[in-house]
Protein backbone atom coordinates (compact mmCIF):
# COMPACT_ATOMS: atom_id res chain seq x y z
CA UNK A 1 0.00 0.00 0.00
CA UNK A 2 1.31 3.44 -0.85
CA UNK A 3 1.50 6.25 1.70
CA UNK A 4 -1.42 8.04 0.06
CA UNK A 5 -3.64 4.99 0.56
CA UNK A 6 -3.05 5.18 4.33
CA UNK A 7 -3.63 8.96 4.26
CA UNK A 8 -6.86 8.41 2.29
CA UNK A 9 -7.94 5.68 4.72
CA UNK A 10 -7.33 7.98 7.71
CA UNK A 11 -9.37 10.85 6.29
CA UNK A 12 -12.13 8.46 5.14
CA UNK A 13 -12.37 6.88 8.61
CA UNK A 14 -12.54 10.37 10.14
CA UNK A 15 -15.47 11.40 7.97
CA UNK A 16 -17.27 8.07 8.39
CA UNK A 17 -17.07 8.45 12.19
CA UNK A 18 -17.97 12.16 12.21
CA UNK A 19 -20.90 11.81 9.80
CA UNK A 20 -21.97 8.55 11.43
CA UNK A 21 -22.15 10.25 14.81
CA UNK A 22 -24.02 13.18 13.24
CA UNK A 23 -26.57 10.72 11.82
CA UNK A 24 -26.86 9.08 15.26
CA UNK A 25 -27.53 12.51 16.80
CA UNK A 26 -30.13 13.28 14.16
CA UNK A 27 -31.97 10.02 14.92
CA UNK A 28 -31.77 10.51 18.70
CA UNK A 29 -33.10 14.06 18.31
CA UNK A 30 -35.97 13.00 16.02
CA UNK A 31 -36.99 10.17 18.35
CA UNK A 32 -36.86 12.50 21.36
CA UNK A 33 -39.02 15.10 19.61
CA UNK A 34 -41.56 12.45 18.61
CA UNK A 35 -41.74 11.19 22.21
CA UNK A 36 -42.13 14.75 23.46
CA UNK A 37 -44.93 15.51 21.00
CA UNK A 38 -46.73 12.31 22.03
CA UNK A 39 -46.39 13.01 25.74
CA UNK A 40 -47.16 16.73 25.62
CA UNK A 41 -50.19 17.75 27.68
CA UNK A 42 -53.29 18.40 25.60
CA UNK A 43 -52.27 15.94 22.90
CA UNK A 44 -54.23 12.86 22.09
CA UNK A 45 -52.32 9.70 23.19
Amino acid sequence: MSNWMFVGAAFTVTWVVVLGYLLHLHRVMRRAREEFERARPGRAP
Partner: protein, 239 residues
Protein backbone atom coordinates in the same frame (compact mmCIF):
# COMPACT_ATOMS: atom_id res chain seq x y z
CA UNK B 1 -35.39 26.87 36.53
CA UNK B 2 -36.21 23.20 37.14
CA UNK B 3 -35.04 20.50 34.75
CA UNK B 4 -38.65 19.89 33.70
CA UNK B 5 -39.25 23.55 32.83
CA UNK B 6 -35.88 23.91 31.12
CA UNK B 7 -36.36 20.70 29.17
CA UNK B 8 -39.79 21.80 27.97
CA UNK B 9 -38.33 25.15 26.93
CA UNK B 10 -35.52 23.41 24.99
CA UNK B 11 -37.95 21.02 23.34
CA UNK B 12 -40.14 23.63 21.71
CA UNK B 13 -38.20 26.06 19.56
CA UNK B 14 -35.55 24.73 17.20
CA UNK B 15 -32.25 26.31 18.09
CA UNK B 16 -31.24 28.01 14.83
CA UNK B 17 -28.04 29.53 16.19
CA UNK B 18 -26.64 26.08 16.95
CA UNK B 19 -27.65 24.76 13.52
CA UNK B 20 -25.72 27.63 11.95
CA UNK B 21 -22.78 26.89 14.25
CA UNK B 22 -22.90 23.23 13.19
CA UNK B 23 -22.73 24.15 9.51
CA UNK B 24 -19.85 26.52 10.27
CA UNK B 25 -17.99 23.78 12.19
CA UNK B 26 -18.27 21.26 9.35
CA UNK B 27 -17.38 23.76 6.62
CA UNK B 28 -14.43 24.90 8.72
CA UNK B 29 -13.33 21.28 9.10
CA UNK B 30 -13.45 20.72 5.32
CA UNK B 31 -11.55 23.97 4.67
CA UNK B 32 -8.96 23.16 7.37
CA UNK B 33 -8.28 19.68 6.02
CA UNK B 34 -8.02 20.94 2.42
CA UNK B 35 -5.67 23.77 3.47
CA UNK B 36 -3.47 21.47 5.58
CA UNK B 37 -3.10 18.92 2.78
CA UNK B 38 -2.45 21.61 0.17
CA UNK B 39 0.20 23.62 2.04
CA UNK B 40 2.21 20.98 3.90
CA UNK B 41 5.28 19.53 2.19
CA UNK B 42 6.08 15.79 2.58
CA UNK B 43 7.97 15.03 5.80
CA UNK B 44 11.67 14.07 5.48
CA UNK B 45 11.15 10.72 7.23
CA UNK B 46 7.48 9.87 6.82
CA UNK B 47 6.74 11.51 3.48
CA UNK B 48 3.02 12.12 2.93
CA UNK B 49 2.06 9.94 5.91
CA UNK B 50 2.66 13.05 8.00
CA UNK B 51 -0.75 14.31 6.77
CA UNK B 52 -2.46 11.78 9.06
CA UNK B 53 -1.32 14.10 11.87
CA UNK B 54 -4.05 16.59 10.87
CA UNK B 55 -6.79 14.17 11.89
CA UNK B 56 -5.06 11.94 14.45
CA UNK B 57 -3.59 14.65 16.69
CA UNK B 58 -6.71 16.92 16.89
CA UNK B 59 -8.83 13.83 17.51
CA UNK B 60 -6.45 12.79 20.31
CA UNK B 61 -6.71 16.27 21.84
CA UNK B 62 -10.52 16.05 21.83
CA UNK B 63 -10.21 12.58 23.39
CA UNK B 64 -8.48 14.28 26.32
CA UNK B 65 -10.56 17.47 26.37
CA UNK B 66 -14.01 15.83 26.33
CA UNK B 67 -13.39 13.71 29.48
CA UNK B 68 -12.25 16.89 31.25
CA UNK B 69 -15.64 18.36 30.30
CA UNK B 70 -17.21 15.24 31.83
CA UNK B 71 -15.14 15.86 34.98
CA UNK B 72 -16.31 19.47 35.31
CA UNK B 73 -20.01 18.62 35.00
CA UNK B 74 -19.75 15.42 37.06
CA UNK B 75 -18.20 17.38 39.93
CA UNK B 76 -20.80 20.11 39.50
CA UNK B 77 -23.55 17.50 39.61
CA UNK B 78 -22.16 15.99 42.82
CA UNK B 79 -21.94 19.47 44.33
CA UNK B 80 -25.26 21.01 43.21
CA UNK B 81 -27.32 17.91 42.29
CA UNK B 82 -28.70 19.61 39.17
CA UNK B 83 -29.92 17.12 36.58
CA UNK B 84 -28.73 19.36 33.72
CA UNK B 85 -25.12 18.86 34.84
CA UNK B 86 -25.56 15.09 34.77
CA UNK B 87 -27.01 15.27 31.24
CA UNK B 88 -24.17 17.53 30.09
CA UNK B 89 -21.59 15.14 31.53
CA UNK B 90 -23.29 12.21 29.81
CA UNK B 91 -23.39 14.09 26.49
CA UNK B 92 -19.69 14.91 26.75
CA UNK B 93 -18.92 11.27 27.65
CA UNK B 94 -20.66 9.96 24.53
CA UNK B 95 -18.72 12.40 22.34
CA UNK B 96 -15.49 11.54 24.19
CA UNK B 97 -16.06 7.84 23.46
CA UNK B 98 -16.54 8.64 19.76
CA UNK B 99 -13.31 10.62 19.59
CA UNK B 100 -11.39 8.02 21.60
CA UNK B 101 -12.50 5.30 19.17
CA UNK B 102 -11.57 7.50 16.23
CA UNK B 103 -8.15 8.29 17.72
CA UNK B 104 -7.39 4.60 18.22
CA UNK B 105 -8.41 3.73 14.65
CA UNK B 106 -6.38 6.60 13.18
CA UNK B 107 -3.40 5.61 15.31
CA UNK B 108 -3.57 2.08 13.95
CA UNK B 109 -3.74 3.36 10.37
CA UNK B 110 -0.67 5.53 11.03
CA UNK B 111 1.19 2.80 12.95
CA UNK B 112 1.02 0.18 10.19
CA UNK B 113 3.24 1.98 7.62
CA UNK B 114 5.51 3.69 10.19
CA UNK B 115 6.02 1.00 12.87
CA UNK B 116 5.16 -2.04 10.74
CA UNK B 117 2.34 -3.15 13.07
CA UNK B 118 -1.31 -2.17 13.48
CA UNK B 119 -1.10 -2.35 17.28
CA UNK B 120 1.47 -2.67 20.02
CA UNK B 121 1.03 -2.62 23.80
CA UNK B 122 2.81 0.69 24.08
CA UNK B 123 2.04 2.91 27.12
CA UNK B 124 0.34 5.64 25.05
CA UNK B 125 -1.77 3.20 23.06
CA UNK B 126 -2.67 1.10 26.08
CA UNK B 127 -3.62 4.08 28.26
CA UNK B 128 -5.78 5.49 25.44
CA UNK B 129 -7.47 2.09 25.10
CA UNK B 130 -8.09 2.06 28.87
CA UNK B 131 -9.65 5.55 28.59
CA UNK B 132 -11.87 4.32 25.74
CA UNK B 133 -12.98 1.31 27.81
CA UNK B 134 -13.76 3.48 30.86
CA UNK B 135 -15.87 5.79 28.67
CA UNK B 136 -17.63 2.80 27.09
CA UNK B 137 -18.26 1.52 30.63
CA UNK B 138 -19.75 4.91 31.53
CA UNK B 139 -22.23 4.62 28.65
CA UNK B 140 -23.04 0.98 29.50
CA UNK B 141 -23.67 1.96 33.14
CA UNK B 142 -26.12 4.67 32.11
CA UNK B 143 -27.95 2.21 29.88
CA UNK B 144 -28.25 -0.36 32.68
CA UNK B 145 -29.31 1.75 35.70
CA UNK B 146 -32.91 2.98 35.66
CA UNK B 147 -32.98 5.04 38.84
CA UNK B 148 -32.06 8.59 37.73
CA UNK B 149 -30.31 9.73 40.88
CA UNK B 150 -28.33 6.53 41.35
CA UNK B 151 -27.39 6.55 37.64
CA UNK B 152 -26.18 10.15 37.89
CA UNK B 153 -24.09 9.47 41.00
CA UNK B 154 -22.49 6.29 39.71
CA UNK B 155 -21.78 7.69 36.29
CA UNK B 156 -20.25 10.82 37.87
CA UNK B 157 -17.84 8.52 39.73
CA UNK B 158 -16.93 6.67 36.51
CA UNK B 159 -16.59 10.00 34.68
CA UNK B 160 -14.14 11.23 37.31
CA UNK B 161 -12.20 7.96 36.98
CA UNK B 162 -11.99 8.48 33.20
CA UNK B 163 -10.75 12.04 33.65
CA UNK B 164 -8.06 10.86 36.09
CA UNK B 165 -6.76 8.71 33.23
CA UNK B 166 -6.32 11.76 30.95
CA UNK B 167 -3.05 13.04 32.50
CA UNK B 168 -1.76 9.45 32.42
CA UNK B 169 -2.50 9.29 28.67
CA UNK B 170 -0.86 12.69 28.15
CA UNK B 171 2.26 11.98 30.19
CA UNK B 172 2.62 8.30 29.19
CA UNK B 173 5.16 9.18 26.47
CA UNK B 174 7.39 10.83 29.10
CA UNK B 175 6.84 8.50 32.04
CA UNK B 176 7.55 5.27 30.14
CA UNK B 177 9.82 4.24 27.28
CA UNK B 178 7.43 4.17 24.36
CA UNK B 179 7.51 3.71 20.62
CA UNK B 180 5.03 6.58 20.35
CA UNK B 181 6.60 9.98 19.75
CA UNK B 182 6.47 12.86 22.28
CA UNK B 183 3.35 15.02 22.44
CA UNK B 184 2.74 16.99 19.25
CA UNK B 185 2.16 20.70 19.66
CA UNK B 186 2.94 23.85 17.64
CA UNK B 187 6.14 24.05 19.73
CA UNK B 188 7.36 20.59 18.74
CA UNK B 189 6.34 20.23 15.08
CA UNK B 190 8.05 21.74 12.05
CA UNK B 191 6.82 25.33 11.34
CA UNK B 192 5.56 24.13 7.93
CA UNK B 193 2.91 22.03 9.72
CA UNK B 194 1.86 24.44 12.47
CA UNK B 195 -0.89 26.28 10.58
CA UNK B 196 -2.50 23.06 9.36
CA UNK B 197 -2.39 21.57 12.85
CA UNK B 198 -3.84 24.70 14.47
CA UNK B 199 -6.66 25.00 11.92
CA UNK B 200 -7.63 21.34 12.33
CA UNK B 201 -7.42 21.55 16.12
CA UNK B 202 -9.94 24.42 16.11
CA UNK B 203 -12.10 22.59 13.54
CA UNK B 204 -12.24 19.47 15.73
CA UNK B 205 -12.94 21.65 18.78
CA UNK B 206 -15.90 23.32 17.03
CA UNK B 207 -17.25 19.94 15.89
CA UNK B 208 -16.88 18.55 19.42
CA UNK B 209 -18.67 21.52 21.01
CA UNK B 210 -21.48 21.20 18.45
CA UNK B 211 -21.79 17.44 19.10
CA UNK B 212 -21.91 17.88 22.89
CA UNK B 213 -24.52 20.62 22.66
CA UNK B 214 -26.66 18.66 20.19
CA UNK B 215 -26.52 15.53 22.36
CA UNK B 216 -27.38 17.59 25.44
CA UNK B 217 -30.32 19.16 23.61
CA UNK B 218 -31.61 15.69 22.65
CA UNK B 219 -31.17 14.48 26.25
CA UNK B 220 -33.16 17.46 27.53
CA UNK B 221 -35.99 16.75 25.09
CA UNK B 222 -36.00 13.07 26.17
CA UNK B 223 -36.26 14.29 29.75
CA UNK B 224 -39.06 16.73 28.84
CA UNK B 225 -40.99 13.83 27.25
CA UNK B 226 -40.54 11.77 30.43
CA UNK B 227 -41.72 14.66 32.62
CA UNK B 228 -44.73 15.29 30.35
CA UNK B 229 -45.64 11.58 30.41
CA UNK B 230 -45.33 11.49 34.22
CA UNK B 231 -47.45 14.62 34.56
CA UNK B 232 -50.08 13.18 32.23
CA UNK B 233 -50.14 9.90 34.21
CA UNK B 234 -50.55 11.79 37.51
CA UNK B 235 -53.28 13.97 36.03
CA UNK B 236 -55.07 10.90 34.69
CA UNK B 237 -54.94 9.04 37.99
CA UNK B 238 -56.35 12.00 39.94
CA UNK B 239 -59.56 12.19 37.89
Amino acid sequence: MTTAALATKVARPRTRAWTVFGWFAFLFLIASQATAIAISPPDRDMGDLQKIMYVHVPSAWMTMLAPLTVLVFALRYLWKRREQDDLLAASAAEVATTFAGLTLMLGMIWARPTWGVWWTWDARLTSTLVLFLILAGYLALRALVDDRERRAQWSAAVGILGAINVPIVYMSVRWWRTIHQMQSSPATVDPAYVLGLRLNAFAFLFVMVFFIHRRYEAAMIERAAEHAAEAAALGGSST
